[in-house]
Point group: C2
Chain length 118, copies 2
């Protein structure tokens, strides 16, 4: 007689909550984009780059020197950061300066810091 014969027949949350959850879920594309965004923050090198840019815009070789890493490694990561629109850049002669794209970066990292400092 019962439709659902597997687990969670009776013990769990009410069906209307399950329905409600399904309705409230953002669409798959947004969830995917969100995970992709956080992946970008989920790497020590990229976090360090972002922290460096908190203080001032900076060229690639300066970042590499500051973080004691190869120019190539930094360049690859700056590409990832730029694709995620977390940083922007501008050219001045041979040099390319990178800077934080917007204040969400600070906000997100700030919230993260609060959590781990608990």
């Amino acid at each position: 007689m019962q439709e659902r014969i597997e687990c969670c027949d009776e013990h769990c949350v009410h069906p209307e909550i399950l329905e409600h959850v399904k309705l409230e879920m953002p669409d798959e594309e947004a969830l995917y984009d969100l995970a992709e965004l956080f992946k970008v923050f989920g790497d020590t090198t990229r976090i360090r780059i972002l922290y460096v840019l908190f203080e001032s815009e900076m060229c690639v070789c300066d970042i590499a020197e500051l973080l004691n890493m190869s120019q190539s490694a930094i360049s690859h990561q700056l590409r990832v950061l730029k694709q995620a629109r977390l940083v922007g850049n501008r050219r001045e002669g041979k040099t390319i300066y990178y800077f934080l794209a917007d204040d969400h970066v600070r906000a997100i990292i700030g919230q993260g810091m609060e959590h781990i400092e608990e």
Copy 2:
């Protein structure tokens, strides 16, 4: 005569800014922890789990059913979320209910959403 003979001798930011950046950087351990935290957010399954828990605490099999994934996969990811202290759980008989650990989760995901919706 010059100490620094590589790139960035003259064109780039002033040395005092470089010094300032070095001083302002959080220590390596904090940066590592921060990256680890964002890694946890950087997966579609875990993001979806967190969104489900936005609405209500829920047991493992319900989450699995809602997300159309195996109980094992969900259990593995709940473990990761718990280790990052993003969710907590409580037992009620055979069932274990998971819930959001604190409001940083909402804040962080909210900021992330704002960014991708730009």
